[in-house]
Protein backbone atom coordinates (compact mmCIF):
# COMPACT_ATOMS: atom_id res chain seq x y z
CA UNK A 1 0.00 0.00 0.00
CA UNK A 2 1.22 3.52 -0.82
CA UNK A 3 -0.15 6.20 1.46
CA UNK A 4 0.70 9.86 1.18
CA UNK A 5 0.14 11.28 4.65
CA UNK A 6 2.19 14.44 4.35
CA UNK A 7 -0.32 16.88 2.89
CA UNK A 8 0.85 19.61 5.26
CA UNK A 9 4.25 19.47 3.52
CA UNK A 10 2.71 19.72 0.09
CA UNK A 11 -0.18 18.29 -1.90
CA UNK A 12 -0.70 16.51 -5.17
CA UNK A 13 -1.99 18.93 -7.78
CA UNK A 14 -5.60 18.49 -8.76
CA UNK A 15 -6.45 17.65 -12.35
CA UNK A 16 -8.50 20.85 -12.56
CA UNK A 17 -5.55 22.96 -11.45
CA UNK A 18 -3.23 21.32 -13.97
CA UNK A 19 -5.80 21.74 -16.75
CA UNK A 20 -6.18 25.39 -15.85
CA UNK A 21 -2.45 25.98 -16.27
CA UNK A 22 -1.79 24.36 -19.61
CA UNK A 23 -3.45 26.95 -21.89
CA UNK A 24 -1.24 29.59 -20.24
CA UNK A 25 1.86 27.72 -21.31
CA UNK A 26 0.77 26.65 -24.77
CA UNK A 27 -1.48 29.39 -26.07
CA UNK A 28 -1.79 32.42 -23.84
CA UNK A 29 1.91 32.67 -23.12
CA UNK A 30 2.09 36.42 -23.70
CA UNK A 31 3.56 38.76 -21.14
CA UNK A 32 0.73 40.55 -19.32
CA UNK A 33 2.72 43.78 -19.68
CA UNK A 34 2.76 43.58 -23.51
CA UNK A 35 0.24 45.53 -25.51
CA UNK A 36 -0.43 43.07 -28.36
CA UNK A 37 -3.25 40.61 -28.22
CA UNK A 38 -1.83 37.59 -26.37
CA UNK A 39 -0.26 39.95 -23.88
CA UNK A 40 -3.56 41.64 -23.27
CA UNK A 41 -5.45 38.37 -23.03
CA UNK A 42 -2.90 37.27 -20.47
CA UNK A 43 -3.44 40.54 -18.61
CA UNK A 44 -7.20 40.00 -18.58
CA UNK A 45 -6.75 36.49 -17.26
CA UNK A 46 -4.45 37.77 -14.55
CA UNK A 47 -6.97 40.36 -13.42
CA UNK A 48 -9.75 37.84 -13.64
CA UNK A 49 -7.76 35.53 -11.37
CA UNK A 50 -7.17 38.37 -8.95
CA UNK A 51 -10.89 39.10 -8.76
CA UNK A 52 -11.68 35.43 -8.19
CA UNK A 53 -9.10 35.10 -5.40
CA UNK A 54 -10.44 38.30 -3.84
CA UNK A 55 -13.94 36.90 -3.90
CA UNK A 56 -12.84 33.75 -2.07
CA UNK A 57 -11.11 35.76 0.64
CA UNK A 58 -13.86 38.40 0.71
CA UNK A 59 -11.75 41.42 -0.16
CA UNK A 60 -11.19 43.76 -3.11
CA UNK A 61 -9.14 42.63 -6.12
CA UNK A 62 -6.63 45.44 -5.61
CA UNK A 63 -5.89 44.02 -2.17
CA UNK A 64 -4.50 40.84 -3.73
CA UNK A 65 -0.78 40.60 -4.59
CA UNK A 66 0.55 37.49 -6.28
CA UNK A 67 3.83 36.23 -4.86
CA UNK A 68 6.16 33.26 -5.21
CA UNK A 69 4.53 31.52 -2.28
CA UNK A 70 3.85 31.64 1.42
CA UNK A 71 7.39 32.53 2.47
CA UNK A 72 7.55 35.61 0.28
CA UNK A 73 4.11 36.76 1.38
CA UNK A 74 5.11 36.39 5.04
CA UNK A 75 8.33 38.32 4.47
CA UNK A 76 6.62 41.14 2.64
CA UNK A 77 3.73 41.48 5.08
CA UNK A 78 5.99 41.68 8.11
CA UNK A 79 8.59 43.96 6.60
CA UNK A 80 5.92 46.30 5.23
CA UNK A 81 4.21 46.64 8.60
CA UNK A 82 7.57 47.13 10.29
CA UNK A 83 8.51 49.94 7.90
CA UNK A 84 5.15 51.65 8.41
CA UNK A 85 5.56 51.35 12.16
CA UNK A 86 9.10 52.62 12.08
CA UNK A 87 8.02 55.81 10.33
CA UNK A 88 5.68 56.46 13.26
CA UNK A 89 8.26 55.49 15.87
CA UNK A 90 6.58 52.15 16.54
CA UNK A 91 9.17 49.40 16.66
CA UNK A 92 7.49 46.60 18.59
CA UNK A 93 6.12 43.44 16.97
CA UNK A 94 4.12 40.65 18.57
CA UNK A 95 4.15 37.08 17.32
CA UNK A 96 4.29 33.58 18.79
CA UNK A 97 6.97 31.01 19.50
CA UNK A 98 5.55 28.48 17.08
CA UNK A 99 5.34 30.41 13.83
CA UNK A 100 6.75 29.12 10.57
CA UNK A 101 10.40 30.02 9.98
CA UNK A 102 9.33 32.35 7.16
CA UNK A 103 7.90 34.51 9.96
CA UNK A 104 10.42 33.82 12.74
CA UNK A 105 13.49 34.41 10.60
CA UNK A 106 12.04 37.64 9.22
CA UNK A 107 11.43 38.77 12.80
CA UNK A 108 15.00 37.83 13.73
CA UNK A 109 16.24 40.05 10.95
CA UNK A 110 14.10 42.94 12.17
CA UNK A 111 15.30 42.41 15.72
CA UNK A 112 18.87 42.89 14.51
CA UNK A 113 17.70 46.12 12.89
CA UNK A 114 16.49 47.43 16.23
CA UNK A 115 12.91 46.19 16.48
CA UNK A 116 11.69 44.68 19.69
CA UNK A 117 10.00 41.32 19.20
CA UNK A 118 7.64 39.70 21.69
CA UNK A 119 7.07 36.02 20.99
CA UNK A 120 4.03 34.88 22.92
CA UNK A 121 4.10 31.56 24.71
CA UNK A 122 1.85 28.91 23.29
CA UNK A 123 -0.38 26.99 25.68
CA UNK A 124 0.26 23.28 25.99
CA UNK A 125 -2.81 22.69 23.79
CA UNK A 126 -1.14 24.57 20.93
CA UNK A 127 -3.34 27.65 21.11
CA UNK A 128 -2.60 31.32 21.77
CA UNK A 129 -5.42 33.43 23.23
CA UNK A 130 -6.69 36.87 22.30
CA UNK A 131 -6.14 37.85 25.94
CA UNK A 132 -2.42 37.15 25.59
CA UNK A 133 -2.31 39.37 22.55
CA UNK A 134 -4.27 42.11 24.27
CA UNK A 135 -1.92 42.06 27.25
CA UNK A 136 1.14 42.24 25.02
CA UNK A 137 0.03 45.16 22.84
CA UNK A 138 1.80 48.43 23.69
CA UNK A 139 1.68 52.03 22.48
CA UNK A 140 4.55 51.30 20.12
CA UNK A 141 3.28 47.99 18.71
CA UNK A 142 3.47 48.08 14.92
CA UNK A 143 2.21 44.60 14.09
CA UNK A 144 0.72 41.43 15.46
CA UNK A 145 1.48 38.37 13.30
CA UNK A 146 -0.02 35.04 14.33
CA UNK A 147 -0.55 31.99 12.18
CA UNK A 148 -4.08 30.80 11.46
CA UNK A 149 -3.26 27.11 11.73
CA UNK A 150 0.03 25.61 12.82
CA UNK A 151 1.85 23.58 10.19
CA UNK A 152 3.26 20.93 12.50
CA UNK A 153 0.52 20.20 14.99
CA UNK A 154 -2.47 21.55 13.07
CA UNK A 155 -3.99 23.65 15.86
CA UNK A 156 -6.24 26.53 14.79
CA UNK A 157 -5.90 29.89 16.52
CA UNK A 158 -8.81 32.17 17.56
CA UNK A 159 -8.01 34.49 14.68
CA UNK A 160 -11.30 36.38 14.66
CA UNK A 161 -10.91 37.33 18.34
CA UNK A 162 -7.26 38.19 17.94
CA UNK A 163 -8.13 40.32 14.93
CA UNK A 164 -10.80 42.07 16.96
CA UNK A 165 -8.34 42.95 19.70
CA UNK A 166 -5.94 44.34 17.11
CA UNK A 167 -8.69 46.42 15.49
CA UNK A 168 -9.68 47.85 18.86
CA UNK A 169 -6.08 48.73 19.62
CA UNK A 170 -5.47 50.00 16.12
CA UNK A 171 -2.59 47.63 15.43
CA UNK A 172 -2.01 45.88 12.08
CA UNK A 173 -2.79 42.18 12.14
CA UNK A 174 -1.15 39.69 9.77
CA UNK A 175 -1.90 35.99 9.71
CA UNK A 176 -0.01 33.22 7.94
CA UNK A 177 -3.00 31.25 6.68
CA UNK A 178 -0.95 28.84 4.57
CA UNK A 179 -2.20 25.82 6.53
CA UNK A 180 -5.71 27.15 7.02
CA UNK A 181 -7.02 28.00 3.56
CA UNK A 182 -9.05 25.08 2.28
CA UNK A 183 -9.04 23.47 5.73
CA UNK A 184 -11.12 25.90 7.79
CA UNK A 185 -13.34 28.82 6.70
CA UNK A 186 -11.32 32.01 6.25
CA UNK A 187 -12.88 35.43 5.64
CA UNK A 188 -10.66 38.48 5.99
CA UNK A 189 -13.60 40.78 6.87
CA UNK A 190 -15.21 38.56 9.44
CA UNK A 191 -11.83 37.56 10.88
CA UNK A 192 -10.60 41.18 11.15
CA UNK A 193 -7.47 40.43 9.15
CA UNK A 194 -5.33 43.23 7.67
CA UNK A 195 -2.80 41.02 5.92
CA UNK A 196 -2.80 37.34 5.08
CA UNK A 197 -0.42 34.88 3.38
CA UNK A 198 -1.36 31.81 1.45
CA UNK A 199 0.46 29.26 -0.68
CA UNK A 200 -1.03 27.32 -3.59
CA UNK A 201 0.81 24.04 -3.12
CA UNK A 202 -0.93 23.38 0.20
CA UNK A 203 -4.35 23.10 -1.44
CA UNK A 204 -3.64 21.06 -4.59
CA UNK A 205 -2.30 23.99 -6.58
CA UNK A 206 1.19 24.42 -8.02
CA UNK A 207 4.37 25.10 -6.06
CA UNK A 208 6.09 28.48 -6.18
CA UNK A 209 2.98 30.66 -6.20
CA UNK A 210 1.03 32.32 -3.43
CA UNK A 211 -0.85 35.40 -2.36
CA UNK A 212 -0.37 38.30 -0.04
CA UNK A 213 -3.64 39.96 0.84
CA UNK A 214 -3.06 43.46 2.21
CA UNK A 215 -5.85 45.85 3.11
CA UNK A 216 -5.87 48.82 0.77
CA UNK A 217 -4.75 51.30 3.42
CA UNK A 218 -1.50 49.40 3.92
CA UNK A 219 1.50 50.73 2.01
CA UNK A 220 3.59 47.72 1.04
CA UNK A 221 7.37 47.75 0.86
CA UNK A 222 8.97 45.84 -1.98
CA UNK A 223 10.93 42.69 -1.31
CA UNK A 224 11.69 42.31 -5.01
CA UNK A 225 12.57 45.47 -6.92
CA UNK A 226 12.21 45.87 -10.66
CA UNK A 227 9.28 46.27 -13.00
CA UNK A 228 5.88 47.70 -12.17
CA UNK A 229 4.01 44.42 -11.82
CA UNK A 230 1.52 43.97 -8.97
CA UNK A 231 0.92 47.71 -8.80
CA UNK A 232 4.61 48.28 -8.39
CA UNK A 233 4.82 46.22 -5.22
CA UNK A 234 6.22 42.97 -6.56
CA UNK A 235 8.47 43.04 -9.59
CA UNK A 236 8.83 40.16 -12.00
CA UNK A 237 6.83 38.85 -14.95
CA UNK A 238 3.79 37.23 -13.42
CA UNK A 239 3.71 33.45 -13.08
CA UNK A 240 0.46 33.28 -14.96
CA UNK A 241 0.22 29.49 -15.36
CA UNK A 242 0.83 29.18 -11.63
CA UNK A 243 -1.64 31.91 -10.77
CA UNK A 244 -4.36 30.31 -12.93
CA UNK A 245 -3.72 26.90 -11.40
CA UNK A 246 -3.79 28.39 -7.92
CA UNK A 247 -7.03 30.24 -8.56
CA UNK A 248 -8.85 27.12 -9.68
CA UNK A 249 -7.38 25.09 -6.81
CA UNK A 250 -8.39 27.75 -4.30
CA UNK A 251 -11.97 28.00 -5.55
CA UNK A 252 -12.28 24.25 -5.56
CA UNK A 253 -10.79 23.78 -2.08
CA UNK A 254 -13.05 26.41 -0.56
CA UNK A 255 -16.18 25.20 -2.38
CA UNK A 256 -15.40 21.66 -1.22
CA UNK A 257 -14.64 22.64 2.37
CA UNK A 258 -17.85 21.31 3.90
CA UNK A 259 -17.58 17.92 2.20
CA UNK A 260 -13.90 17.73 3.01
CA UNK A 261 -14.52 18.46 6.67
CA UNK A 262 -17.39 16.00 6.96
CA UNK A 263 -15.27 13.32 5.34
CA UNK A 264 -12.02 13.97 7.17
CA UNK A 265 -13.11 14.62 10.76
CA UNK A 266 -14.12 11.02 11.52
CA UNK A 267 -10.95 9.72 9.84
CA UNK A 268 -8.78 12.13 11.79
CA UNK A 269 -10.46 11.24 15.06
CA UNK A 270 -10.18 7.54 14.33
CA UNK A 271 -6.46 8.01 13.70
CA UNK A 272 -6.08 9.92 16.96
CA UNK A 273 -7.98 7.26 18.88
CA UNK A 274 -5.89 4.50 17.30
CA UNK A 275 -2.53 6.12 18.03
CA UNK A 276 -3.66 7.01 21.55
CA UNK A 277 -3.74 3.28 22.27
CA UNK A 278 0.04 3.08 21.92
CA UNK A 279 1.43 3.22 25.44
CA UNK A 280 3.29 6.35 26.55
CA UNK A 281 2.21 8.38 23.56
CA UNK A 282 0.40 11.69 23.44
CA UNK A 283 -1.37 13.82 20.86
CA UNK A 284 0.29 17.18 20.30
CA UNK A 285 -2.15 20.06 20.38
CA UNK A 286 -5.81 20.41 21.17
CA UNK A 287 -8.09 17.57 20.14
CA UNK A 288 -10.75 19.81 18.65
CA UNK A 289 -9.20 23.16 17.76
CA UNK A 290 -7.37 21.63 14.83
CA UNK A 291 -7.61 21.42 11.05
CA UNK A 292 -9.42 18.32 9.80
CA UNK A 293 -6.35 16.64 8.35
CA UNK A 294 -3.40 17.01 10.71
CA UNK A 295 -2.46 14.68 13.54
CA UNK A 296 0.81 14.90 15.46
CA UNK A 297 1.94 12.51 18.18
CA UNK A 298 4.97 12.05 20.41
CA UNK A 299 6.10 8.56 21.35
CA UNK A 300 8.42 8.06 24.29
CA UNK A 301 11.66 6.15 23.86
CA UNK A 302 12.10 6.39 20.11
CA UNK A 303 13.49 8.83 17.58
CA UNK A 304 11.45 10.25 14.72
CA UNK A 305 13.73 9.77 11.75
CA UNK A 306 14.05 6.01 12.19
CA UNK A 307 10.28 5.91 12.60
CA UNK A 308 9.82 7.75 9.29
CA UNK A 309 12.25 5.51 7.43
CA UNK A 310 10.50 2.36 8.58
CA UNK A 311 7.08 3.81 7.77
CA UNK A 312 8.43 4.68 4.33
CA UNK A 313 9.37 1.01 3.94
CA UNK A 314 5.73 0.24 4.63
CA UNK A 315 4.65 2.72 1.98
CA UNK A 316 3.64 5.55 4.32
CA UNK A 317 4.96 9.08 3.70
CA UNK A 318 4.90 11.18 6.86
CA UNK A 319 7.11 13.67 8.69
CA UNK A 320 8.65 14.30 12.08
CA UNK A 321 9.94 17.12 14.23
CA UNK A 322 13.04 15.28 15.42
CA UNK A 323 16.39 17.06 15.24
CA UNK A 324 17.60 14.50 12.71
CA UNK A 325 14.81 15.35 10.32
CA UNK A 326 14.92 19.10 10.89
CA UNK A 327 18.61 19.09 9.96
CA UNK A 328 19.46 20.99 13.13
CA UNK A 329 20.55 19.97 16.59
CA UNK A 330 17.29 20.81 18.26
CA UNK A 331 13.98 19.14 17.71
CA UNK A 332 11.01 21.14 16.39
CA UNK A 333 10.57 24.61 17.90
CA UNK A 334 6.82 24.03 17.72
CA UNK A 335 6.93 21.00 20.01
CA UNK A 336 9.28 22.81 22.39
CA UNK A 337 6.91 25.81 22.35
CA UNK A 338 4.00 23.68 23.56
CA UNK A 339 6.21 22.41 26.36
CA UNK A 340 7.37 19.04 25.12
CA UNK A 341 10.78 18.19 26.57
CA UNK A 342 13.55 17.53 24.05
CA UNK A 343 13.66 13.79 24.60
CA UNK A 344 9.98 13.47 23.75
CA UNK A 345 10.03 15.99 20.91
CA UNK A 346 12.63 13.82 19.12
CA UNK A 347 10.02 11.07 18.94
CA UNK A 348 7.33 12.94 17.06
CA UNK A 349 5.30 11.97 14.03
CA UNK A 350 3.09 14.18 11.88
CA UNK A 351 0.46 12.57 9.68
CA UNK A 352 -1.48 14.97 7.48
CA UNK A 353 -4.39 13.46 5.63
CA UNK A 354 -5.91 14.59 2.36
CA UNK A 355 -9.25 14.45 0.62
CA UNK A 356 -8.33 11.07 -0.90
CA UNK A 357 -7.51 9.41 2.43
CA UNK A 358 -9.63 6.30 3.09
CA UNK A 359 -10.64 4.47 6.24
CA UNK A 360 -8.66 1.46 5.09
CA UNK A 361 -5.58 3.66 4.96
CA UNK A 362 -6.22 4.92 8.48
CA UNK A 363 -6.41 1.31 9.74
CA UNK A 364 -3.18 0.50 7.96
CA UNK A 365 -1.43 3.59 9.36
CA UNK A 366 -2.48 2.77 12.93
CA UNK A 367 -1.30 -0.81 12.58
CA UNK A 368 2.00 0.17 10.95
CA UNK A 369 2.85 2.93 13.42
CA UNK A 370 2.10 0.63 16.36
CA UNK A 371 4.37 -2.08 14.91
CA UNK A 372 7.23 0.27 14.12
CA UNK A 373 7.07 2.02 17.51
CA UNK A 374 7.18 -1.38 19.23
CA UNK A 375 10.07 -2.54 17.10
CA UNK A 376 12.15 0.60 17.73
CA UNK A 377 11.38 0.58 21.45
CA UNK A 378 12.65 -2.97 21.64
CA UNK A 379 16.10 -1.88 20.54
CA UNK A 380 16.13 1.41 22.45
CA UNK A 381 18.24 1.64 25.61
CA UNK A 382 16.27 4.78 26.45
CA UNK A 383 13.03 2.81 26.38
CA UNK A 384 14.63 0.09 28.52
CA UNK A 385 15.54 2.72 31.11
CA UNK A 386 11.99 4.04 31.08
CA UNK A 387 10.57 0.56 31.54
CA UNK A 388 13.02 -0.22 34.33
CA UNK A 389 12.26 3.03 36.10
CA UNK A 390 15.81 4.31 35.65
CA UNK A 391 14.45 7.37 33.90
CA UNK A 392 11.08 8.98 34.53
CA UNK A 393 8.27 8.76 32.02
CA UNK A 394 6.95 12.03 30.67
CA UNK A 395 3.54 10.72 29.66
CA UNK A 396 1.03 8.56 31.46
CA UNK A 397 0.62 5.03 30.19
Amino acid sequence: MKIYADNAATTKMSRDAIDAMIPYMEEIYGNPSSLYEIGQIAKESLENARARVAKVLNCEPREIYFTSGGSEADNQAIISAAKIGERKGKKHIISTKFEHHAVLHTLNKLEKEGFEITLLDVHSNGVVTAKQVEDAIREDTALVTIMYANNEIGTVQPIEEIGKVCREKNVFFHTDAVQAIGHVPVDVQKDNIDMLSLSAHKFHGPKGVGVLYAKKNIFLSNIIEGGAQERGKRAGTENLPGIMGMTVALEKAVANLDNYTVKLLPLRDKLIAGLDKISYSELNGDRDARVPGTVNFCFEGIEGESLLLLLDDKGISASSGSACTSGSLDPSHVLLAIGRPHEVAHGSLRLSLGEDTTEEEIDYIIKSVSEVVDYLRNMSPFWRDLVNGKRPHVFAE
Binding site: G301, E305, S306, L309, L329, H346, M379, P381
Partner: protein, 145 residues
Protein backbone atom coordinates in the same frame (compact mmCIF):
# COMPACT_ATOMS: atom_id res chain seq x y z
CA UNK B 1 15.72 6.93 0.05
CA UNK B 2 18.66 8.68 -1.42
CA UNK B 3 19.62 10.24 1.89
CA UNK B 4 21.56 7.11 2.83
CA UNK B 5 23.68 4.56 0.97
CA UNK B 6 22.29 1.09 0.38
CA UNK B 7 24.71 -0.24 3.01
CA UNK B 8 23.33 2.14 5.61
CA UNK B 9 19.77 1.20 4.74
CA UNK B 10 20.64 -2.49 4.88
CA UNK B 11 22.15 -2.16 8.36
CA UNK B 12 19.28 0.04 9.45
CA UNK B 13 16.61 -2.34 8.18
CA UNK B 14 18.37 -5.52 9.28
CA UNK B 15 20.58 -4.49 12.15
CA UNK B 16 23.14 -7.11 13.20
CA UNK B 17 23.76 -7.92 16.84
CA UNK B 18 20.79 -6.13 18.36
CA UNK B 19 20.11 -7.03 21.95
CA UNK B 20 21.53 -7.29 25.42
CA UNK B 21 24.21 -9.53 26.97
CA UNK B 22 22.99 -10.09 30.51
CA UNK B 23 26.39 -11.16 31.91
CA UNK B 24 28.45 -8.79 29.75
CA UNK B 25 32.11 -8.26 30.66
CA UNK B 26 31.99 -4.66 29.55
CA UNK B 27 29.17 -2.21 28.88
CA UNK B 28 29.48 1.24 27.33
CA UNK B 29 26.73 3.80 26.90
CA UNK B 30 27.09 7.18 25.18
CA UNK B 31 24.76 9.98 24.17
CA UNK B 32 21.62 11.09 25.96
CA UNK B 33 17.92 11.41 25.30
CA UNK B 34 17.98 15.19 25.11
CA UNK B 35 20.26 15.04 22.07
CA UNK B 36 18.15 12.34 20.51
CA UNK B 37 20.64 9.49 20.43
CA UNK B 38 21.92 6.88 22.88
CA UNK B 39 24.08 3.90 22.03
CA UNK B 40 24.78 1.03 24.38
CA UNK B 41 27.33 -1.68 23.61
CA UNK B 42 27.64 -4.98 25.49
CA UNK B 43 30.85 -7.04 25.19
CA UNK B 44 31.58 -10.64 26.05
CA UNK B 45 35.36 -11.02 26.27
CA UNK B 46 37.19 -14.36 26.68
CA UNK B 47 40.44 -15.17 28.45
CA UNK B 48 42.43 -14.62 25.28
CA UNK B 49 41.03 -11.05 25.28
CA UNK B 50 39.02 -11.67 22.17
CA UNK B 51 35.53 -10.21 21.72
CA UNK B 52 33.47 -13.36 21.64
CA UNK B 53 30.16 -11.67 21.43
CA UNK B 54 28.83 -8.14 21.10
CA UNK B 55 25.33 -6.71 21.21
CA UNK B 56 23.95 -3.24 20.96
CA UNK B 57 20.89 -1.18 21.75
CA UNK B 58 20.36 2.19 20.09
CA UNK B 59 17.89 5.03 20.43
CA UNK B 60 18.39 7.28 17.47
CA UNK B 61 18.03 8.00 13.80
CA UNK B 62 18.64 5.64 10.88
CA UNK B 63 22.34 6.32 10.70
CA UNK B 64 22.77 5.83 14.46
CA UNK B 65 21.24 2.38 14.25
CA UNK B 66 23.22 1.51 11.10
CA UNK B 67 26.49 2.78 12.64
CA UNK B 68 26.00 0.66 15.76
CA UNK B 69 25.21 -2.37 13.68
CA UNK B 70 28.25 -1.92 11.45
CA UNK B 71 30.57 -1.18 14.37
CA UNK B 72 29.53 -4.35 16.19
CA UNK B 73 30.12 -6.38 13.03
CA UNK B 74 33.58 -4.92 12.63
CA UNK B 75 34.70 -5.84 16.16
CA UNK B 76 32.99 -9.18 16.63
CA UNK B 77 35.60 -11.94 16.95
CA UNK B 78 38.43 -9.40 17.10
CA UNK B 79 41.09 -9.14 19.81
CA UNK B 80 40.46 -6.20 22.14
CA UNK B 81 43.55 -4.43 20.85
CA UNK B 82 42.09 -4.43 17.35
CA UNK B 83 38.67 -3.30 18.53
CA UNK B 84 40.26 -0.32 20.22
CA UNK B 85 41.73 0.74 16.90
CA UNK B 86 38.29 1.03 15.34
CA UNK B 87 37.74 4.60 14.22
CA UNK B 88 34.57 6.42 13.29
CA UNK B 89 36.11 6.82 9.87
CA UNK B 90 36.35 3.06 9.44
CA UNK B 91 32.69 2.71 10.43
CA UNK B 92 31.68 5.42 7.98
CA UNK B 93 33.70 3.89 5.17
CA UNK B 94 32.29 0.44 5.82
CA UNK B 95 28.84 1.99 5.44
CA UNK B 96 29.82 3.54 2.09
CA UNK B 97 29.65 6.96 3.67
CA UNK B 98 27.25 9.00 5.78
CA UNK B 99 25.79 12.45 5.13
CA UNK B 100 27.98 15.14 6.74
CA UNK B 101 25.47 16.01 9.43
CA UNK B 102 25.25 12.34 10.43
CA UNK B 103 28.95 11.71 10.94
CA UNK B 104 28.55 12.11 14.68
CA UNK B 105 26.61 8.84 14.68
CA UNK B 106 29.76 6.97 13.70
CA UNK B 107 31.65 8.89 16.39
CA UNK B 108 29.14 7.68 18.95
CA UNK B 109 29.67 4.10 17.79
CA UNK B 110 33.44 4.38 18.21
CA UNK B 111 33.07 5.95 21.62
CA UNK B 112 30.52 3.42 22.85
CA UNK B 113 32.92 0.60 22.03
CA UNK B 114 35.84 2.32 23.74
CA UNK B 115 33.70 2.93 26.76
CA UNK B 116 32.67 -0.71 26.93
CA UNK B 117 36.32 -1.80 26.76
CA UNK B 118 37.25 0.69 29.46
CA UNK B 119 34.46 -0.71 31.61
CA UNK B 120 35.96 -4.17 31.12
CA UNK B 121 39.43 -2.92 32.09
CA UNK B 122 38.03 -1.16 35.15
CA UNK B 123 36.11 -4.21 36.28
CA UNK B 124 39.14 -6.46 35.89
CA UNK B 125 41.75 -4.12 37.30
CA UNK B 126 43.60 -3.94 34.02
CA UNK B 127 45.77 -0.87 33.65
CA UNK B 128 45.40 1.45 30.71
CA UNK B 129 46.28 4.92 29.59
CA UNK B 130 43.18 7.09 30.18
CA UNK B 131 44.32 9.28 27.29
CA UNK B 132 43.41 6.45 24.93
CA UNK B 133 39.77 6.79 25.88
CA UNK B 134 37.38 9.60 25.16
CA UNK B 135 36.38 11.89 27.99
CA UNK B 136 33.03 11.17 29.49
CA UNK B 137 30.98 13.98 28.04
CA UNK B 138 27.26 14.23 28.19
CA UNK B 139 26.47 16.23 25.18
CA UNK B 140 29.36 16.85 22.87
CA UNK B 141 27.44 17.04 19.64
CA UNK B 142 24.58 19.12 20.70
CA UNK B 143 24.45 22.22 22.79
CA UNK B 144 20.93 22.36 23.99
CA UNK B 145 21.77 22.39 27.68
Amino acid sequence: MALYSEKVMDHFRNPRNVGVIEDADGVGEVGNPVCGDIMKIYLKINDAKVIEDVKFETFGCGSAIASSSMATELIKGQPLEEALKLTNKAVTEALDGLPAHKLHCSVLAEEAIKKAVKDYYDKNGIEYDPADFPEDHDCEHCHVH
